[in-house]
């Protein structure tokens, strides 16, 4: 049986194994030599030397652009943006340059860049350190986006992201860092996976919300309601085949994420599910996500903002006619 390690350790393992196998893999970020705020890069400078672990000034725009330029000229850089909220500072380089260089040069250039970001609501950090901005990246042709939910995927998909010849935004959830799981090395490199089988309702999710979906499925199973839980893992490219296959059987689906519902990944997923062949839903597909507001720092405000398993349970019951369905994209009631 494979060892159970923490998510943050799995991230470090993915970095370490990639750096061992490819000397052109280099890490750039703020405080990365000392491990960063959560220890993801701890020990790497000792093993690989300071030349491969660059502690940068607090200059996200330029660090992103430097990594892009370095990726175009022979390195395979990994940029750590300490909080995804500060990827906003680097969007010109990421969106206008890293994502487009291959296309704009007619395929001449490759940009094998990995951007590690962490985010999500956890620990009362307030509105500048709690966002889930994946929809911004998903909206950009040329970027790949991956959001692992379990340590096994955290390690494996980071290796896959680093080995990819495209810019990949690798999204960690801070609230998962201390969760444990197996790392086998046999996790599938691409596509989404079914985490739990069930016949009544399909729940599509990613990142930490997968854990809430599984908890919701446990709760609902006690009432004889079977939920099939799909973990998307990759948001770009988006693999909805397992979700479509599931929805064909169940006829009911909830798409759940922690990001603000409006304009979120869920909107894209719902639209594609509705349009898929052979889909006849018994109820409109429901979305669970955060309300259209920044998150407040106070515990009561943060709790009121962040969607959880109770919201998914409420949405499933709504689809089954046990409660009024919530399809308006707002956070459902908590149980």
């Amino acid at each position: 049986m494979a060892a159970r390690i923490r998510y943050i350790e799995a991230v470090r393992q993915g970095l370490q194994s990639s750096m061992r196998s490819d000397p052109s893999v280099i890490v750039l970020g703020e405080d990365v030599r000392y491990g960063g705020p959560f220890g993801a890069t701890k020990g790497l400078a000792d093993e690989f030397g300071k030349g491969r672990i660059l502690d940068t000034p607090i200059s996200e725009a330029t660090v992103m652009g430097m990594a892009t330029g370095a990726a175009a000229t022979g390195l395979r850089p990994i940029v750590e943006i300490m909080f995804v909220d500060f990827a906003t500072l680097a969007m010109d380089q990421l969106v206008n340059h890293a994502a487009k260089l291959g296309f704009m040069t007619g395929g001449l250039l490759r940009v094998p860049l990995t951007v590690r970001v962490q985010g999500g609501v956890s620990g009362r950090f307030g509105a500048h350190h709690s966002q889930s901005l994946e929809a911004w990246f998903l909206h950009t042709p040329g970027l790949k986006v991956v959001a692992p939910a379990f340590p096994g995927d955290a390690a494996r998909l980071l290796e896959v992201a680093i080995a990819d010849d495209n810019p990949v935004v690798y999204m960690e959830h801070r609230g998962l860092y201390w969760t444990k799981g197996e790392v086998t090395g046999n996790e599938p490199a691409s596509g989404s996976v079914v985490r739990r089988r069930g016949d009544h309702v399909t729940i599509v999710s990613y990142s930490r919300m997968v854990h809430h979906a599984l908890a919701a499925a446990d709760t609902l199973a006690a009432d004889g309601i079977g939920c099939e839980v799909i973990d998307l893992r990759w948001l770009a490219p988006l693999d909805l085949e397992p979700a479509v296959a599931s929805l064909r059987r169940t006829g009911r689906a909830v798409v759940a994420h922690e990001a603000v519902t409006t304009g979120g990944v869920g909107a894209e997923v719902v639209a594609r599910l509705q349009a898929a062949r052979g889909i006849r839903t018994r109820a409109p597909i429901a979305r669970v996500g955060a309300p259209f507001a920044p998150v407040g720092a106070a515990p009561e405000l943060e709790d009121a903002f962040v969607p959880g398993s109770g919201d998914i349970v409420g949405a499933v019951r709504g689809l089954l006619g046990e409660a009024p369905p919530r399809t308006d994209g707002q956070k459902g009631g908590r149980t």
Binding site: T62, M66, G69, A72, T73
Partner: protein, 339 residues
């Protein structure tokens, strides 16, 4: 002054300058007849771009900005492929997917052109970072106008280059002086409280050189100093090259304001027309370089004219090639989104 180089290198510099001048004149002419879209021409800055870039070695890279044609041509990019790219043809440098604002030529050391002002500074710094980490004896040149200094990325980039002693040269072509044909307060190209601009680099303890951008020899020497420092592990250099802004962009200034350049202005002052006489007599770095080559005995007027005819012919063939080339297949609009 002329650079301290063998005669064949000196005339090669002139040939490259003429390629740029005739290319841009040809483009303005082409834009009068065909839907070319917008572009920014490099006329008046040839005596900066050529001596700065023609001395680079294979493997050295440049990251350039919207006024990019001269930079690419200075290192030998094929004018025909550039015309084709500007016209959006399949045979263009980027297969029609970049256009004037994104021309790339890997074999000539231009991974990309960034059309975001200040966009190329982090990219060039990153290439220098890659060279330093890969142990390659290469330099990276960041090419930009004075306007790019108004973006934050310049200051972030030069800070990191200084901290890491990276082999990068920041070449600022300050063309904001006395723009030709510009009315007072019309389209100011630079809005910067700092003066001189070299103060911005000096604050990061980066060596600076200010040079007359119409003086081929001075630019050559400044660049040679910077390249030597970069290759020797001495870190970055900031060069400010001062040029007069020739009014060349479409659609704002689409006309060939000073007319097609007549090389005889260099040796026959009486031929210079009254309009923009100061430009032809003093401010045009290309004509200045011709005068310097003539007085140094490197070149005769007849040789200059013969070279010019060859260049004009090459440019004409380039235009024809571009016009005759097919547009890219529509299906390619969705290709190369991912590697």
């Amino acid at each position: 002054m002329i650079p301290d180089l063998p005669a064949d290198r000196l005339t090669d510099y002139l040939r490259r300058m003429l390629v740029i001048r005739r290319f841009e004149e040809g483009l303005i002419e082409l834009a009068g007849e065909y839907a070319v879209g917008h572009f920014h021409v490099y006329i008046g800055q040839e005596a900066t771009g050529v001596p700065a870039l023609a001395q680079l070695e294979p493997g050295d890279v440049g990251f350039t900005t919207h006024r990019n044609h001269g930079h690419l041509l200075a290192r030998g990019t094929d004018p025909a492929a550039m015309f084709a790219e500007i016209l959006g043809k399949e045979t263009g440098t980027n297969r029609g997917k970049g256009g004037t604002l994104h021309i790339a030529s890997l074999e000539n050391g231009f991974p990309t052109t960034s059309a975001a002002t200040g966009g190329c500074t982090p990219l060039a710094t990153g290439a220098a970072f890659a060279f330093s980490r890969l142990g390659r004896d290469r330099v990276s040149v960041c090419l930009f106008g004075d306007g790019a200094l108004e973006e934050g990325t310049f200051h972030e980039s030069i800070n990191i280059a200084a901290l890491e002693s990276l082999p990068v040269i920041y070449l600022c072509e300050n063309n904001s002086l006395e723009a030709l044909g510009q009315k007072a307060n019309e389209y100011p190209s630079s809005t910067m409280a700092a003066a001189p601009l070299t103060d911005l680099a000096a604050a990061f303890k980066v060596p600076t050189i200010t040079v007359d951008g119409t003086d081929t020899g001075a630019v050559h020497d400044a660049m040679a100093t910077a390249v030597g420092r970069a290759r020797g592990g001495g870190g970055p250099t900031f060069i400010e090259a001062l040029t007069v802004r020739w009014p060349g962009s479409r659609p704002i200034w689409p006309q060939l304001l000073t007319g097609p350049t007549d090389l005889s202005y260099a040796w026959d002052p009486s031929a210079i027309p009254a309009d923009y006489a100061v430009w032809h007599a003093e401010q045009d770095g290309l004509l200045r370089y011709v005068r310097e080559l003539l007085s140094a005995g490197v070149l005769t007027p007849d040789e200059a004219l013969a070279m010019d005819e060859q260049v004009k012919d090459r440019i004409e063939r380039g235009v024809r090639f571009a016009l005759d080339s097919p547009y890219p297949p529509v299906a390619s609009a969705l290709e190369s989104v991912y590697a």
